[in-house]
C-alpha cells in the first residue's frame, strides 16, 4: 500500500503544481479536484514519449527521471511566477492529507471487479514496465497506452496488481462532476438550490449499478469518462473565461482521453468539429488546441504501426494508417479553416458534421442492415432494460422532457446537445467496423454510453441553471 500511496501522491503533486500555475482562473477546490487526473495525464504523455522513443527495461527508469524533471520544472515555474504562496502550500498540504485518507479508505475496502479485459490490460501493462516488448505489444492493438502504462509501474510498488488508482479516480470523477455542476448552477441560483440540484444530478450517475461496478472495475471507461468530461467542461469554460488556463486543461484532457481507447481520437475530432468551429472561436486558438494533438497522435500511431504484433486484435496496421489519414485530414482542415474562401463551409462545420454522421449511419444501416440494426437494438435495450442502469435513463428522460418544455436559449447548451447527439451517432457508426453490439452491461456500446453520462449531467446542469423555476 505504501508505495502505491506514494505514487498517487507524487502524481497528485505533479497535477497540483500544474493547476497552481493557473490559480487566478482555477478556484482552490477545482485545483485540488483536477490535480490527480492532470497528474496522470502528464504521466501518460511522458510515458508515451519515453516508450515511443525507446522500449526496453531501462525505459521505466527513464520515465521516472522524466517525471522527476517534470515535477522540478513545475515547481520552479511556480516559484518564478510567484504562484507558490502560503495559501497554495496549505491547500496542497491539506489536499495531500485528504487524498491519503481516500487512498487508505480504498485500501481498506479491497474491492476490485474484473473481466477478461482487465486481465489483459493489467498483465500486458505489467510487462511494459518489465521492458518485455514481445509480452506487451498485443495491448496496443486493444486499447490506448495510458491505462497499461499505469499498470506498468506495478513492479515498483511491491504489489502483484495495481488496483488502487481505479477507485480513487472514480471517486475523483464523482467529486469533479458534483463540483462543476454545482458551480454552473450556482452562477444563477442559491447555495441550497445548487447543492440540491447537483446532488440529484450526480445521484443519477452514482446510484446506478453499472456505475458502482465501474468504480472498482479495472478497465478504461471511467478514466475515459473523466477526461472526456474535463475536456468538454474546459471547452464550455473557454468561451466564458478566455485565457491559457482552460485551453491547457482542454488540451491535456483531450490528449489523455485519446491515449485511453483506440477510437478515442475520432471522438475528439467530432467533438472539436462541433465545438471549436463556432464563430466565437479564433483561428489561432483553434490551431493551438488542434495542432499539438494531431502531431502527437500521428507520431504515436506511426510508432504503433511498427509495434503491432503479426496477429493484432482490434487495431490492425491498415486501421492504424486509416487513423493517421483521418488525423492528418482533420489537421489540414483546421489549418485551411482560416482561408476566407472556406468561410461559409467552416461556419457550418458543426451542422455539416452532424449531417455527415447521420448520412453515414443511414448508409451503414442500408449496406449492413441486420448487423447495424441489431447493434442499435442492443444499444437501446441496454439503456432501458439490460444494461444494469435501473431507472437512471428513465429519470433522465423525465427531467430532460420537463426541462425541454421550460427551456430558455443558451449557446453552450446548443452545442452541448450537438456533442451528445454526434457522440451517440459515432458510437452507432463504429458498430459497422466490429462485431455487433450485444445485450448486457459489459457491452462496448453500453460502456461508451456510460462514458457520456457525465456529459449528459453537464448538459442538464446548463439547462437546470436557467429553468429551475419549472419545478
Amino acid at each position: 500500500m505504501n508505495k502505491a500511496l506514494l505514487m498517487q501522491l507524487w502524481v497528485f503533486v505533479i497535477g497540483f503544481l500544474f493547476c497552481n500555475l493557473h490559480k487566478r482562473t482555477f478556484d482552490p477546490v477545482f485545483r485540488t479536484l483536477t490535480a490527480l487526473p492532470i497528474g496522470w495525464a502528464l504521466f501518460g504523455i511522458c510515458a508515451t514519449m519515453v516508450y515511443g522513443v525507446y522500449f526496453s527495461a531501462v525505459s521505466q527508469m527513464v520515465l521516472l527521471v522524466v517525471l522527476a524533471l517534470t515535477t522540478l520544472a513545475l515547481l520552479l515555474a511556480n516559484i518564478t511566477q510567484g504562484s507558490l504562496s502560503r495559501n497554495s502550500i496549505l491547500l496542497g498540504g491539506a489536499s495531500l492529507v485528504v487524498l491519503t485518507g481516500a487512498c487508505f479508505f480504498v485500501d481498506l475496502l479491497r474491492i476490485v471487479t474484473m473481466t477478461p479485459d482487465s486481465s489483459y490490460i493489467a498483465r500486458f501493462g505489467q510487462n511494459i514496465g518489465l521492458g518485455n516488448y514481445e509480452g506487451s505489444r498485443l495491448v496496443f492493438s486493444k486499447w490506448g497506452p495510458l491505462v497499461p502504462f499505469m499498470h506498468s509501474i506495478t513492479n515498483l510498488l511491491d504489489q502483484k496488481l495495481y488496483w488502487q488508482y481505479q477507485p480513487v479516480l472514480s471517486l475523483d470523477l464523482v467529486a469533479i462532476v458534483f463540483y462543476t455542476v454545482y458551480t454552473i448552477i450556482r452562477e444563477q441560483k442559491s447555495i441550497l438550490q445548487s447543492c440540491v440540484a447537483a446532488t440529484v444530478l450526480v445521484s443519477l450517475m452514482a446510484l446506478s449499478n453499472i456505475f458502482v461496478f465501474h468504480v472498482f472495475y479495472i478497465h478504461v471507461n471511467i478514466i475515459s469518462a473523466l477526461y472526456m468530461y474535463l475536456f468538454v467542461f474546459a471547452l464550455v469554460k473557454m468561451q466564458q473565461q478566455p485565457g491559457r488556463a482552460y485551453a491547457l486543461l482542454a488540451q491535456l484532457s483531450l490528449i489523455a482521453f485519446s491515449l485511453i481507447r483506440i477510437e478515442a481520437p475520432l471522438f475528439v475530432i467530432v467533438i472539436l468539429l462541433v465545438t471549436s468551429f463556432w464563430q466565437g472561436w479564433s483561428y489561432v486558438n483553434r490551431l493551438k488546441l488542434i495542432i499539438p494533438f494531431i502531431v502527437l497522435f500521428v507520431a504515436w500511431y506511426a510508432r504503433v504501426y511498427f509495434i503491432l504484433p503479426e496477429v493484432p486484435d482490434l487495431l490492425t496496421k491498415e486501421l492504424a494508417i486509416a487513423i493517421i489519414a483521418v488525423l492528418v485530414g482533420f489537421g489540414l482542415f483546421a489549418v485551411v479553416s482560416g482561408l476566407k474562401v472556406l468561410d461559409s463551409v467552416v461556419k457550418r462545420t458543426p451542422f455539416l458534421t452532424l449531417m455527415g454522421l447521420v448520412l453515414v449511419s443511414i448508409i451503414f444501416t442500408i449496406t449492413k442492415s441486420e448487423h447495424m440494426l441489431s447493434s442499435l437494438e442492443s444499444i437501446v435495450r441496454n439503456i432501458l432494460v439490460a444494461g444494469n442502469w435501473g431507472l437512471t435513463w428513465y429519470v433522465i428522460f423525465f427531467l430532460a422532457t420537463e426541462l425541454y418544455f421550460a427551456r430558455r436559449d443558451a449557446t453552450e447548451r446548443h452545442w452541448m446537445f450537438m456533442v451528445l447527439v454526434t457522440y451517440i451517432l459515432l458510437v452507432y457508426n463504429l458498430a459497422y467496423f466490429r462485431v455487433p453490439y450485444h445485450l448486457g452491461e459489459i457491452d462496448s456500446a453500453n460502456r461508451l454510453v456510460l462514458q457520456a453520462l457525465p456529459l449528459v449531467l453537464l448538459y442538464l446542469s446548463l439547462t437546470v441553471r436557467s429553468n429551475l423555476k419549472a419545478f
Binding site: 477478461p116 431507472l391 429519470v395
Partner: protein, 222 residues
C-alpha cells in the same frame, strides 16, 4: 430532434425481439413494475399539471426522485448482498482473481493457459519444465513477463504422473482449474507454494495436466 432520435432508436425493437409483448414484459421485469408505472404516471401528470412553480410540480418531482432513490438503492444493496462483486478480496493478484476469486474467466488465460499469470505472480525465480515444445505458443509464454527462453525448459524429465504420486498430489491442497478452456490444470494451493521453488514441472496423465512444485517430486523420489 430528440423525439426523432428516440423514434429511430425504438424502430428496430419490434423487428428483432420475439414480440412487442416480450419487450414490454422484459422492461417491466427488469425495472420493477411499480417503479415504472409510477415514472410513466409522473411523466404524463407533469404534462397535465400547470407549468411554472407549484406545489403539484414539487410533489411530482419528489415522487420521481423518491422512486429513483428507493429503486436504485435497493438494486445496489441487492448486488452487494447477493453477489461477490463488491466483497473484500484477500489476495490482489491476477492469478488469484482469475482462479480462486473466480470473477470472470478470460479467454486467453483459461485452463492450462493460466500458466503465464501464475509464473508472473508466483514464480519469480523458478524454471518451468514443459513436456512438449508445442504445448504453448512462444508469445503466450512471453506474457509471463519473464524471458521465455531462460524460464521455460522443454523435456528432460519424466512427465507422466504415476499412480502413487497422483494420490500424493490429490492428498495435498489443490485446485483444478478449467475456466473457459477444456484443458484442465491441477494447481497446488495456496499459490504461494510455488514462490520458493527453483523448479516447477508440468506433468500429465490421460485427464489433465499437473503443475507440480519441484520439491514435491524430489521428496517423492526420495
Amino acid at each position: 430532434m430528440g423525439a426523432a432520435l428516440t423514434s429511430i432508436c425504438m424502430l428496430p425493437m419490434p423487428i428483432y425481439a420475439s414480440s412487442p409483448e416480450e419487450i414490454v414484459r422484459q422492461v417491466f421485469m427488469k425495472t420493477g413494475t411499480l417503479n415504472l408505472v409510477m415514472l410513466i404516471a409522473c411523466l404524463i401528470s407533469a404534462r397535465l399539471v400547470a407549468r411554472g412553480p407549484s406545489l403539484g410540480r414539487k410533489l411530482l418531482l419528489g415522487l420521481v426522485l423518491l422512486t429513483f432513490f428507493a429503486s436504485q438503492g435497493r438494486s445496489v444493496l441487492h448486488t452487494y448482498r447477493n453477489t461477490d462483486l463488491y466483497q473484500y478480496r484477500k489476495t490482489m493478484a491476477l492469478s488469484d482473481l482469475q482462479i480462486v476469486e473466480n470473477l470472470y474467466h478470460s479467454r486467453l488465460f483459461s485452463g492450462k493457459n493460466i500458466l503465464p499469470l501464475l509464473v508472473a505472480d508466483y514464480m519469480p525465480q523458478a524454471q518451468v519444465f514443459l513436456y512438449d515444445e508445442n504445448l504453448y505458443p512462444k508469445e503466450l509464454l512471453s506474457w509471463s513477463g519473464r524471458n521465455p527462453d531462460s524460464t521455460f525448459v522443454v523435456g528432460g524429465y519424466q512427465s507422466t504422473m504415476d499412480a502413487s504420486f497422483k494420490v500424493a498430489c490429490f492428498g495435498r491442497p489443490h485446485i483444478i482449474y478449467t475456466g473457459r478452456s477444456r484443458a484442465a490444470l491441477y494447481i497446488a494451493t495456496p499459490f504461494s507454494t510455488y514462490e520458493k521453488e527453483e523448479q516447477v514441472f508440468l506433468m500429465k496423465d490421460a485427464l489433465m495436466d499437473y503443475l507440480v512444485p519441484g520439491s514435491w517430486r524430489v521428496s517423492q523420489h526420495e
